[in-house]
Symmetry: D3
Subunit: 283 residues, 6 copies
C-alpha cells in the first residue's frame, strides 16, 4: 500500500499492475460516513485520476456486513455534517440556507470526484448498501453486487430528498422510471436480483469474495487496454449521457483528433495482427 | 367523497389518511376521453397538488374492461376535439394550424398537470389501455398493471403521431429504444409481462383488485413519509430526468437549502432511533 | 432492384410494397467497411429518405457469417480511412488534428444519415457484429438479432474510443449504464440474449432467415400505416430523446399543426370503423 | 371598450383596427400592483392572445407619473402577496418555502402570459418604472420610453433578488453584462437615455403623448402585416433566444411547413407587385 | 480566379495571399437569389473551408446598387423555390408540409455552410440588403457596411416568418432585443448608422470601395495569424454562443489539447520576441 | 490587511466595511501572471466567497502601467505553464494532450473561482490589459476602465485560441457578435471608449485614481444592501445567462423560497418606510 494513499478510514492497495483497490474501512460502524471520510474519498480519487500507475479502480467496503450504511446520522446530528441547520441555534432562514447550500455543494463535489476520475471505477456492493452507498456507486462506472446485498435509497426515511447525487444520476442510469420513482419515494429495501433486473447493477455474485474477485478481473482487463482509449471512452460516455447525440458526436470528433494520434493505435493494431499483448506507455 | 372533488366522469375518494383515489368513470365507453374529461382531470390534479390532506394519489379506470380506450374518436370527429381540422369546412392551412396548435398545447397542459402535481401519482393499468392511456400514465410517477392489460400506443392507427406526451416521455421512461420505436411505429398491442420486462410498468398483479390494492399500499406507504421529502424527491427526479447531472445537483442543493430546515428531519430521525412512527405536519 | 440504387458493396431490393431491403454486400471480408462503403451507405439512405415508394427499410449483412466485422482495419492502415494520422509522415500535431477531425465528422455524418432517414429503419444483426456494426445499428430505429450473434464494441482493442456514434447513442438507447460502461471499456464480446436482456435489441430469432423475415414483417406492418404518421413518430421520438419533455411537447404541437390536417386521418378513422385497410397517398 | 375586457385596474381599448391598448389603471397609487392586478393582467393577455380582432398590443400606465411603481409593498405586507412568509406566524421553514414557491411560480406565470401572447406587445415606459415595471416590460416584445422615465430594478432595496422575471430575461435582452449586473446589484435609478444606449429600450420620446403615439404607430404598422407572419416571427425569435442556432433552425422549418401554406403569402406577394395594401383574414 | 471556383453567379478571386473574395454576381437583378445560387454558395464555402490556400474570406455583392435584394421572388413563384406549396396544384396539407420542410432545411443548410466554413468570413453590405442578405451575413463572422446601405428583414412583407436563419441568429448577434423584435416584426428599412449603433455591423464606411478595402484589410490581417489559432477562435466562439459557459470551457480544453501542440505556438512566440513576421504552414 | 489574505503577488485590503480590494501586485512585470499567481487568485476568491466580513470586491492591478499584460510568456516557456507541450521533450501526442487538458482545466477553474465567488466583483482595467486580463475581468461581474486602457484579446498572436474563458464568456457579455469576432480574430488593441460603446465595460474614468474610486463606490453601495439579496441577484443572473428563461424562472422560485424568509426583507422594508439605513446580519 503506497504511502501517498494513506487516508483515515480507507485502505488503498494495488493488487495488480495498474489496478487500485479502494476499501472503505470503518467496518465496526457498517462503514457509515463521517465528514472526514468523504473529504478523504475525494482526495483519493483526485490522486488516482492523475496517477500514471493506475488504469482502473475497484471500490469496496471492509468487513462482511456492509458496503456502507450511508451517512453516520449520529455523527451528523452531533456535529455539523447535516449543515448549520442541525446546529440547533435558531438562525435567520436565509443564512441557514446559504450555509446548507455551501455544505451540500461541497459534499456533492467530493462524490463527483469519483465520476471525474479519469480512470474507470468499479463498485462492488455487498450487505447493507443504504443512502450514500447509492450516491457513491452511481458516480462509479460499473456496479456489481453480492447476492445478499440489501439496497435502499433511504433518505426519505430521515425526512429529506436525497441530495448528494442519487436523484440526479439514477434516472440516467436505469431504464425503468416507474421503479426509480417507487424505490426513491418509499425507501424500500431491495435485493441484488431486483437491482440486476432493472439494470442498476450489471452482475450479481454469490458472495463478497467472488464479487470482489470479479470486480478485480474487470479492472485487470481494462488495465490491459490502452489507457488513452479507456479514458476517452469513459469521458465521452459521461459527456453523451447528459447531452444530445449531436453534441456528443461533435465532442467526440475533437477528442479523438488528438487522442487517435497516439502510438497506442499502432501498437494495438500490430498486437491484434500478431496476436500478442500490447504494452502501452503510462498516462 | 369530498364535495370539492365532484367532477363529471371522475370519482375521487380518500380510502386512507393522506391518500386520494382518482377513478376515471365512464365504463360504458371503456373510459374513453371526451374534452370535458381532460379538462376535469387537470382541475382535479391541480387541486390535489396543493391539498394539505393528500400525500399520494392512485389513478385507475372504472369497470372491469379498461383503464381507458383513449380518445373517444366518435366524439372527437363529431365535435372539435381533434381541433378545427376535423370541422370539415375548408380553411386556410395556416389558420387551421394555429387552431390545432392551440388545441394540442391546451390538451398537453392538462395531462402535464398530472406530472406537475406535487404529490406522487400511481397509475394502475388494467384491460384496455390504448393511446391516451399511455400519455396519462407516463405523466404519473409509478405504473402498475394487471396481468390481463392490453396496451397500445395506438395513434399511428388513426393516422397521427401521438401528440399528448407519449412520444416525449416514453424515451425517458424506458431503457430499450428499439422496443420504444417498435411499439410506437406499429401500434402493436402488448401485454403486461412485456411491459414489465422493458420497464414500462414496475409491477404486474393477477387482477384489478390485487393491482389496485397494491397501488393503494404504495400510496399509503408514501403517505407515511415526510411530505416535504416525497415532494422534493418527485420534483428533483423529474428535473434531473431532463437535464445534465451537473444541473440536477445544482438544483438539488438550492432545493434542500430550505427543505432540509424542516422539523420533519428531526422528527424522522428521532422516530428512527426510537422505532416509532413519526407524525408530520400538513403541507 | 432499382437502377438508381446500384451502389458498390450494397444490394438494395424492394421485397414488398413500400419496403426496401438494404444489404451490406462484402461477405468475403465479413462485410468489413472501406471508405467507399460508408459514403455509399449515406447516398442510399439519403435517397430512401425522400423516395415516395419507400415507407420502411430493413438493413442486413450478406452471407452467413457477419452483419459486419466493422472497419476494414487493413484497408484503413493502407489508405487514409483512419485519417491523416495513419499516413505515417510526421506532421504538425494541430494540422493532423484538423485533418482527423474533418475525417471523423464526415464519417459520423454518413452514419447519421441513417438516423436522419425519414423512414423507419430496422437492423438485423447476425454473426459477427463488431465496432461499426454498433455505430450503424444504433442509428437505426429497431434492432433485431439472431441467436448466434457475437457483438462487441471493439474500438478500445485498437487503442481508440469509438468515435462514429456508439458512445453518444448507446447511453440513450439502453437503460443499464453499468453494462454500457462495461462492454464499452472491455470490448467484451456478448451474445444476443444478453443484448436483449439489457434492451439493446428487441427481438432474438433462431437464425438469419427467421430474423430477416421478422424484420421484413415489421417493415411491412409499418408500411401499411400512414407514412405521415410514421415519419412524425420517428422524428418526434428522436427529437425527444435528446431534449426535455417540455421541449418535446412544444415541438410535437407545431409538428402536428400541419401533419394532422392530412387526409390520412380521415381515411384511417374511416377504415378503423369499417374494418378495411386504408390506402394512403405517397409521401 | 369591449365588455369582455372589463377587468379591475385595467382599461382595454381598441384605438385602431386590430390594435389593442392595455392601460394599467391605478394612477393614484402610481399604478402599483396588488395581487388582483397581475391575475387580471394574465386574464387580459390570455384573451388577447386568441382574439381574432387583435394583431398588436400596446401596454401603458395611466396618469402622468408612473408606468408602475412596482409591487404595492404596503398591500403585500398586509396581505399575502409576499407569500406565507409575510404572514408573521412562525411556521416550519420547509412549509413556508413550499407556499412561497407556489406563490412565486403563479406570479411568474401571470407575467409570462404577456410573453406567451401570440400577438406582439409594445410597452411604453414613463415616469416611475420600478421593480415589476421591468419584469413586465421585459416580457413584452418592444420597449419604448419617455425622456423623463426613471427606471430601477428595485428589488435588492427590499432585501430580495428580483424573482418575477427580470433577472432571467434581462441578460438575454441587453448586450452589456457589466451594466446589467450593476443596475441589478445596486438598484440605481437610471434614465431613458441610458436605457436606450445599453439597448433596454429602442426608442425615447419627449413625453408620454408622443411615446404612446409612437407605440400605437408601431402597433398599427404590425397590424397591417399578415398575422400568420407576425405571430411566427415573435414565436421563433423567443424560441431562438433560449436555444442553439441549430435548434432554432429546426423549429423554424417545421413551423413554416404549415404556416407558409397560407393564402397570405400569395396575397402579400401580389400586393407587393401591385403596390396595393393586402387584406388578411382573421387569425 | 481559380478554375475550381467557377460557379455561376459568383466571382471568386484571391486578391492577396491566403485571402479569398467571393462576389455575388447578378447585379442586373440586384443580386437576387435563385435556387442555383444558394446551392453554389454552399459549394463555394465548403471548398473554401478545407482549402489550404485560404485563411480568410470576404463576401460582397457585385454592382453599385445592392449586396442582395434577397430571394428572387419572381423566380420563386415561377419555379419551386418557395417549396411545393407554390406549385399551385392542390395537395394534401401534410404532404405539402413535408415537401416544404425538406426544402427549407436544405436551404438553411446551404447558408449554414458559410457559418461552418473553418475560415473567418467578413460580409460587406452595401446598397439594398434585404431578406436573405441578413440570413447570409448573420452566418458570416464580421459584418461591415457602407454608409448608404438600406437594410431590412423583409420577410413579413411577403407573409412569412423569416426561415433561413435571421430569426435564429439575430437574437444572439445583437444586444437589443427590443430593436430586434421591432425590425423583424415591421420589416422597416434601416440604415448603416442604426445598424452600427445596435451592434449588427461593426464598421461603417463612406462607400463601397472603402468598405470592401477595409474588409480585405481585416482579412489580410487575419491571414497573417496562425490558421490553427484563427480556426479555433471562430469555432469556439460559435460553440460558446449557443451553450453554457461551463460547456464552452470544457470544449475549449479538449480543443486546445491538440491544437496547442502546433509548431505555430513556438514560431509565433519567437517572432514576438524577435519582432519578425512568422510564417505558418498551410492548414 | 488581514493575515489570512497574505498571498504572494497580491495585496488584499479592506478599505471600507464589507468591501475587499484585491490588487494584482507584480507591477515590475506589468502584473504578468505566473502559475503561482492564478493559484493564489483562486485561493483568495474562494476565501472571500465565504468570508462573512465581505459583501463586495474590487479587483485592480498595481502600478501605473497595467492591469495585467496577461500570461508571463517567458515564465511559461521556461516552466510548464503552457503545459507539457512546452517541455520540449518529444512525447506521445495523446499523452501530451491529456497533460495539456488537465493543465487548461485547472487554470480555467482558478479563473472561474472569481465568477463563483458569492460576492459581486468589480474589475477596474487600466493601462495594458491583454490576454488573461480579459479572461479574468469577464469572470467578474462589473467592468470599469480608465480612459488610457489598451485592451487586447492577444492569444492568436501567440498561435492559440484563447482557452481560459474569454471565448466562452465574451459572446454572452457583449451584444455585438461582429465586433467580438473581429477583436478575437485579429488581436487588435482597442481603447476604453470602444470598449464602452460595445458594452464590454460600463464606465470609463479619466485616470486610475478616479476609476478605482468609482469601483470602490459601487462596492460600498452594494455592501449597504442585504447580502442575501445581492448574492441571490448575482447567482440568478449568472444562472440565467446560460439557460432558457423558463429554466431561469424555475431556479429563481426555489432560490427565493428560502431566501425571502430572511429577516432582511422586513428590515429593508421598515428602513424604506422610515428612511433609515438598515443593518443586515453577516452572511
Amino acid at each position: 500500500m503506497a504511502e501517498e494513499y494513506k487516508y483515515e478510514f480507507f485502505n488503498v492497495t494495488f493488487p495488480a499492475e495498474y489496478v487500485a483497490h479502494v476499501e472503505i474501512n470503518r467496518p465496526e460502524k457498517l462503514n457509515a460516513f463521517k465528514e472526514i471520510m468523504w473529504l478523504n474519498l475525494s482526495k483519493i480519487f483526485r490522486r488516482l485520476s492523475h496517477d500514471p500507475n493506475v488504469r482502473a479502480v475497484v471500490l469496496t467496503g471492509a468487513g462482511p456486513r456492509a458496503f456502507t450504511a450511508g451517512l453516520d446520522v449520529q455523527a451528523a446530528s452531533e456535529g455539523s455534517t447535516l449543515g448549520p441547520a442541525a446546529a440547533g441555534t435558531p438562525r435567520d432562514v436565509a443564512r441557514s440556507a446559504v450555509g446548507i447550500r455551501r455544505h451540500v455543494l461541497e459534499f456533492q463535489d467530493c462524490i463527483t470526484d469519483v465520476e471525474k476520475c479519469e480512470k474507470p471505477v468499479i463498485a462492488v456492493l455487498h450487505g447493507v448498501a443504504f443512502g450514500l452507498a447509492l450516491d457513491m456507486s452511481l458516480a462509479c462506472d460499473i456496479r456489481l453486487s453480492t447476492r445478499d446485498a440489501r439496497i435502499s435509497i433511504k433518505e426519505v426515511d430521515i425526512g429529506i430528498a436525497a441530495d448528494i447525487g442519487t436523484l440526479s444520476r439514477l434516472p440516467h442510469a436505469v431504464g425503468n422510471a416507474s421503479w426509480v420513482k417507487e424505490v426513491c419515494l418509499t425507501a424500500r429495501i431491495f435485493g441484488a436480483e431486483e437491482a440486476q433486473q432493472v439494470g442498476l447493477v450489471s452482475g450479481v455474485y454469490k458472495d463478497k469474495e467472488e464479487a470482489v474477485a470479479r470486480g478485480l478481473d474487470i479492472a485487470k482487463l481494462i488495465a490491459t487496454k490502452s489507457p488513452v482509449a479507456t479514458m476517452g471512452t469513459k469521458e465521452i460516455l459521461n459527456y453523451s449521457r447528459d447531452r444530445t447525440v449531436s453534441d456528443g458526436l461533435q465532442y467526440t470528433a475533437i477528442w479523438n483528433s488528438s487522442m487517435i494520434q497516439t502510438q497506442d493505435v499502432k501498437d494495438a493494431m500490430l498486437s491484434g495482427l500478431q496476436k500478442t499483448k500490447p504494452k502501452f506507455a503510462k498516462l
